[in-house]
Every structure is written in structure tokens, then in C-alpha cells.
Amino acid sequence: MLAAGQLGRRGCCRLSTARRTDASFSNHPDVALQQPGDLMIANAAHSHWYDSTAAELAALDGRGVTTLDLGQTMDNATSRVTIHMVASLDGFIARKDGSVEWLETSDKFGGGDTLDPAFVAAFLKTIDCYVMGSRTYETALSFEAKGSGWAYGDTSTFVLTPRQLPRTRDIVEFYSGDLAQFVNRRLRPAFHSIWFVGGGAVSSECLRLGLADEVRYAMLPILIGDGIPFFDRLERDISLHLADVKAYESGMVELRYEVQGRATASVERFE
């Protein structure tokens, strides 16, 4: 049996000064997203969005901030494709109407991990590119238009869409076509850490085609009964290998899974 505080704590410094404030995502005026499937943009690993002060980061209290796993080294020569998401315990990423104010739960899990903002920032720097669908991109633009800033910093961002969308910065590129070719021939040779950040259709296709190496699935301590599922376009069941379990002080539990069969695919790629 694991006590919660022992769960895979690798390099997470406890923040004795961390306190809960109202500076978190759910109280943001933009919380009612137009495309609920795309709320990942706000609640996933993208603390660029929050990075005005270290205090604000600390106030996140682990919620919505990626797990910090030093086991994943920065100089890993093998590229990794990660799918990241945050959901209610009953598997929803937003209510039917797209609202996500429930992301702010009030649980306090004694002994759970807290996050050192400097470490969060360092971890985010290990992400080399983001991949997203068009609606996630549009949601990011709408946040920016309302003064909330661009969520993905200077990190290369690839938008999968055949649509003509505004290209607001040099680091944004558009792609339309075969996803497997794009990931294996374009992204993997150029980037180590490749993060799919939504929506559900893009991430499901990535999994379905066997392109993902890992899934990071964070569960919040709440049942919302009904809502938008993330993997509803998966089309088949997919088995995964549990790699890491981490419980946070916020009551959030993050499960990190390796995708079965990826090792074989990696070999083929380098032939």
C-alpha cells in the first residue's frame, strides 16, 4: 500500500508557502469555452498562460499543472508523443454546455504533492512542440484576444486543419493530410517531446493510429454526471501500461501510461 505522499514523488519540492487563492482558471472570465473539447488549452500543462508571477503558479496548487517527472530526461534521444488531458472521475472534460468551472474542486489531500513553480517552468521547457486541432487553436486565439495571453509560449505549435486560419506568430504552422506521416516523418525527427493537447478528435486519432507513446490522464475528485467525453472517437478499446501514479494535494490523481506496441513501431521507424 502506498501512502499518498509516497506516490512517485521525484524531484517535487514541497511548497510550504503554497496557498489556495482565487487566481485559478475556473474563476477566469473566459471559463465558458466555445469548444468544450478544447478546454485542454487552459487546463493542461500550459502554465505559460499563468506565468505572470510565481505566486500565481503556486496558487494553482497542482491543479491543471502537468506532473513533474524527472524520470523523463531532457536529453533523451528518442522522441516521445504524449497525449495529455484532465477529466472528472466519471470521464468528462467539460459539461455538455462546455463549462468547466467544476475544475476547481475544494479537496485537500494530506500528503499529496505540491508543485514548485520553478520546476514547473523547467518542465514545460522540455516540451518541444504542441499539436492541436483547429478549435483548440481558435480557443487559444480567443483567449489571447481577450487579453489572457498566448498559452504556448515560444514553443512550436502545429495546428491540424484544412481550414484557412489566421497565423498569428511564426512558431505556428498548419498541416492538413496524413497524420501518421506528419508525426513520423516531420515531427519525430525534429522534436524530442511532442505534446498533443486536444481536442478529443485529434488525440483519439493519434492513439487510434498507434502514434502516441504515452497518455497522461489527470482525474479530478468530482463526479459531474454528464458531459463531453474526450475519447469518444477512439472507435476501439486500447490497452495501456501504467507507468506512474501521482496524487496531488488538490485531490487530483495523475496516471501516466505507456502505450502498448509503441516499441515495435519505433524500431520500424528507424529502419
Partner: protein, 175 residues
């Protein structure tokens, strides 16, 4: 009465796959289920769960009470400790209390769990998260239109791949 829900789910919160075949469940989940049923000695389940378990896998044999929610209450049960009922959750609690039970575990499925959650009668939830994503299947809850915040009590790895999450349910909140 203290009521606990004990379920296995996919990573994305589904308690059964599309075909409703329990071939994805770990041995440790089965052991955990049996242990909690035998500890509490009162088990509540829906008709579909009952039909998956009979004749050999009902978690109580000679002792305690197995409540099965069904509209077909006239059928003769296979075991003397099985009670077929179409009562509401408060009615089921009364049946259990009249038989001397002070705690009970609900073991599935979606409809039974949802009815009890809606009635505000569930105190604790165990979810054994198995290492699979389901493209389609039965949800943990259905037709529940309130939120239930929970307190995480414990996280436990049951084996290499299965994680048991244990929560206490807080009072429901209107959306």
C-alpha cells in the same frame, strides 16, 4: 446506513466495454470485490450485474443479503439470501436495516449506482482503474444532474497496472 460503491472502470471512466464482457478486469479487482462484499455482508446490484455473476460468482453464498434491483420480482432466486426488489434506494435501505445490516456495498451497474448517488445515500466510492481506454461503453453514472465533489482518501496500486482510488462523497451541489 453506510453505503459504499465498489467498481472497476476504464481510464476514461466507463464501467463496462461496448460488448459488456468483463474480460478486462484484473484478478485484484475481483479479489477486492469479494473481500468488501464479505466484510459488509450486504450487497446491492442491478439485474444485469446479477445475471453476469450467476450461477457461480455471487459474492455471498450462505450468509448476509444480496439485493438485486429488478422489475421481475416474482422470480424465485437461486439462493436463499437473494432478494429481488423494485424498491427505491431509501426502500432498499429499510430492507437492509430490517435484516440487521448497518453497511452495504453497491457493485454495479450504471443504473443502480446512479439511483443511489442521486438519492444522496452513497458515502464512499472505490474505483479500480484498469489500464484500458474504451471507445464506447457504459458510463459510471447516467441521468445524474448534480455534481458530487469528493475527498480523495487513498490511492493504492493493486498490481502493476491497476490503481484503486478511494473517495468519500461530499454533499451534492446543484449545477
Amino acid at each position: 446506513m453506510n453505503i459504499t460503491v465498489y467498481l472497476a472502470s476504464s481510464i476514461n471512466g466507463m464501467i463496462s466495454n461496448k460488448a459488456n464482457i468483463p474480460n478486462w478486469l484484473s484478478q485484484e479487482y475481483g479479489q477486492g470485490l469479494l473481500a468488501i462484499c464479505q466484510r459488509m455482508k450486504a450487497v446491492v446490484m442491478g439485474e444485469t450485474t446479477y445475471e453476469i455473476l450467476i450461477p457461480d460468482h455471487l459474492p455471498l453464498k450462505d450468509e448476509g443479503t444480496l439485493i438485486v434491483l429488478t422489475h421481475d420480482t416474482a422470480t424465485e432466486p437461486l439462493q436463499a439470501n437473494v432478494v429481488f426488489t423494485d424498491e427505491t434506494p431509501p426502500g432498499i435501505v429499510r430492507i437492509l436495516e430490517s435484516r440487521g445490516h448497518r453497511e452495504a456495498v453497491i457493485i454495479g451497474g450504471t443504473q443502480t449506482v446512479s439511483e443511489f448517488v442521486k438519492s444522496g445515500l452513497v458515502n464512499e466510492l472505490y474505483l479500480v482503474v484498469e489500464p484500458v481506454l474504451f471507445g464506447a461503453g457504459l458510463p459510471l453514472l447516467k441521468g445524474v444532474d448534480a455534481d458530487y465533489e469528493m475527498t480523495l482518501l487513498e490511492v493504492q496500486k493493486l498490481n502493476t497496472h491497476s490503481v484503486q482510488l478511494h473517495y468519500r462523497l461530499m454533499e451534492s451541489m446543484n449545477k
